[in-house]
Structure formats: structure tokens, C-alpha cells
């Protein structure tokens, strides 16, 4: 078993002698260790200097980097192409999308219908 009760050991006297041989750290070593602690603590607490950032980098950060820029460029090119070429399928599609069934939506009011009928009552 790993932690069996302690039994008398033929080396017990030697182990005890070595255990008692304890010399505390010198003042010099304590001072050196404390100096290290202070130096490392100062480094830990000092924020890293901010790296200089170019205007382009800042813009890229705002829009989301190169993938976003590529998407924007593609969308821009597509817009130009649609404007110049005006593909028929796109025109039909957009008319349907914008106006749908125009006849059902239009209401042609008789010009004679108006608030004038109510003049006398007001």
C-alpha cells in the first residue's frame, strides 16, 4: 500500500540527522528573491505599450478585415453591372417584386367623388 503506517527504519537515524540539518535562508538570498519578486510584479502590473496602428488598419478593424472588404467590392461590381447591362430577367423580376399584380392594387376614383359632397354638412 502506498501510505502504510510508518515502521522503524534501519536508516532512521541518518534520515533524522539530515532532517535536523536545516539552515535558514541567508538575508542576502532573501533580499535577492524579494528583489526578483518586485521586478516581476512590476512587469506584470505594467500594461504593454500600445503598438502604433495605421489609419488603414483602423478602417479594416471597423469594417471587419479583408473578407468584408472583398464582399463589399464584389457587391459594388455587381451593382455596376446590373446598372449598365440591365438584364431582362432581372427587370421582369424586379417589376414583379416592386409592383406585383398592379391591377388589383390600383383604385381609380371618380373625380366627382370628393369632399365637395359634404360641403353643405360641414
Amino acid at each position: 500500500m502506498s501510505n502504510a503506517p510508518y515502521e522503524p527504519d534501519p536508516l532512521e537515524a541518518e534520515f533524522s540527522a539530515l532532517k535536523r540539518r536545516v539552515e535558514p535562508p541567508s538575508g542576502d538570498l532573501m533580499a535577492r528573491v524579494m528583489a526578483d519578486a518586485d521586478a516581476v510584479q512590476a512587469q506584470i502590473l505594467t500594461p504593454l505599450p500600445k503598438a502604433r496602428v495605421s489609419a488603414l488598419s483602423r478602417v479594416m478593424d471597423v469594417i471587419g478585415g479583408w473578407p468584408t472588404l472583398a464582399g463589399m467590392a464584389t457587391a459594388g461590381m455587381a451593382g455596376v453591372w446590373i446598372g449598365v447591362a440591365q438584364p431582362a430577367a432581372l427587370l421582369e423580376g424586379s417589376q414583379t417584386l416592386l409592383y406585383g399584380d398592379a391591377n388589383a392594387a390600383l383604385v381609380d376614383l371618380d373625380p366627382s367623388f370628393g369632399f365637395s359632397d359634404l360641403d353643405g354638412e360641414l
Binding site: 502506498s2 501510505n3 527504519d9 534501519p10 536508516l11 537515524a13 541518518e14 534520515f15 540527522a17 539530515l18 532532517k19 535536523r20 540539518r21 536545516v22 539552515e23 535558514p24 535562508p25 541567508s26 538570498l29 532573501m30 535577492r32 528573491v33 524579494m34 526578483d36 519578486a37 518586485d38 516581476v40 510584479q41 506584470i44 502590473l45
Partner: protein
């Protein structure tokens, strides 16, 4: 019960390390007072040389300060991590120079014992120190952690990154070798059985 603000003895070591990383200077002093003696004594027992042990102890503590902001609470004990660092640093040193002469072993500091007892104590400690230096590094480390630092086998397994069974095997083989080594020296050095 109230506790004075400067009483850090009840504060766990891991919490002190967190305080240190957050800029608490008192925490670094408390950690140094708590850990440096253990680190130094362990390095000295493994290396058998005070000056080298001081270098190792300073380096181990420096690594502790540096890892403080990244320390993950609850994953490992600070003392276990430190013993591992000291063990690795000592192994590097020992690979560069192997063997410790009896003259290099420091004198004991027990002033209350009689001169005869002090001589016996010195002889025993010196003989063990020298015998440990002749052991394979891993056996010596396991024996020191088990019988001098008095750590449990699972803790030693974690420090040495091996299984508990491997620790038991290393300690057993190390002690057998030490017993055989010291048997011949006891008489030679005038050590009483």
C-alpha cells in the same frame, strides 16, 4: 474572530500567489518566508552544496513569480509545482557534476547536543548525504522526498510525474542501496548502530 490585516499565515499559498499577481507586495514577502526555506533545504539536500542550492532556490522562486499571473487555481499545489521545478533544476546541475565530497557538506547547526552527539549527528548526516549523491538521481530524489521532506507517495508521484507504484519502487531500491552503502561506512566513520 478577527484577523489582523498583516497576518498571512492562515491564507492558502495559492491565494497568496493570486494576491501577488494582483500587485500585493505583502503577498510576495509571505510567499518568500513560507516557501524559500523549503525550496532551499530541498535543493541543498539533493545537491549537497549550499551555494548551488541558493542559486537553484532563487531560480525556482523566480519561475514562481513569473507563472503567478497564469496560475490556474485548483489544478496543482504550489508546493508540488515548486518541488518539481527544484527537482528538474537539481537534475540539470547534477548532470553537469556528479558526486559530493564529504568536505562540501555543511556543518550541523544543533548547538544543544553534546560534542559527542554532535559528532555522531554530523557523521550520520554526512554519510547519508554522500551516499545519496552516489545514488541514481531519480532514486535519490524519491528517497529525499519520502523520508526527508516526508511527502506522501501520491504527492511524490505528481512531483516526479510517475505512478505511485514507480515511486514505491524507486524508494525501495534507493533505500536498499543506501543501507548497503552505509553499512560499510558506519564502522569506518565511528557511527554507533
Amino acid at each position: 474572530m478577527t484577523m489582523p490585516f498583516d497576518d498571512t499565515s492562515a491564507v492558502p499559498t495559492e491565494a497568496l500567489l493570486l494576491l501577488y499577481a494582483n500587485g500585493d507586495r505583502e503577498a510576495s514577502r509571505a510567499l518568500t518566508m513560507r516557501l524559500l526555506p523549503r525550496v532551499l533545504s530541498h535543493a541543498e539536500r539533493v545537491l549537497g552544496n549550499r551555494a548551488e542550492a541558493e542559486d537553484i532556490a532563487q531560480e525556482a522562486m523566480l519561475r514562481l513569480w513569473k507563472i503567478a499571473p497564469d496560475w490556474r487555481q485548483g489544478e496543482a499545489k504550489v508546493t508540488t509545482w515548486l518541488y518539481r521545478v527544484v527537482g528538474n533544476l537539481c537534475t540539470d546541475r547534477l548532470r553537469r557534476r556528479r558526486g559530493v565530497g564529504l568536505d562540501e557538506v555543511p556543518e550541523p547547526v544543533d548547538d544543544q547536543a553534546s560534542p559527542a552527539d554532535r559528532m555522531q549527528e554530523t557523521a550520520r548526516a554526512s554519510a547519508l548525504h554522500a551516499a545519496l549523491a552516489r545514488l541514481p538521481e531519480r532514486q535519490a530524489q524519491a528517497v529525499i522526498l519520502r523520508h526527508i521532506e516526508e511527502l506522501s507517495n501520491p504527492e511524490i508521484a505528481e512531483i516526479m510525474d510517475i505512478s505511485v507504484e514507480a515511486v514505491e519502487s524507486l524508494v525501495a531500491r534507493g533505500k536498499r542501496a543506501l543501507t548497503a552503502d552505509l553499512a560499510g561506512q558506519r564502522e569506518e566513520l565511528g557511527i554507533r548502530e
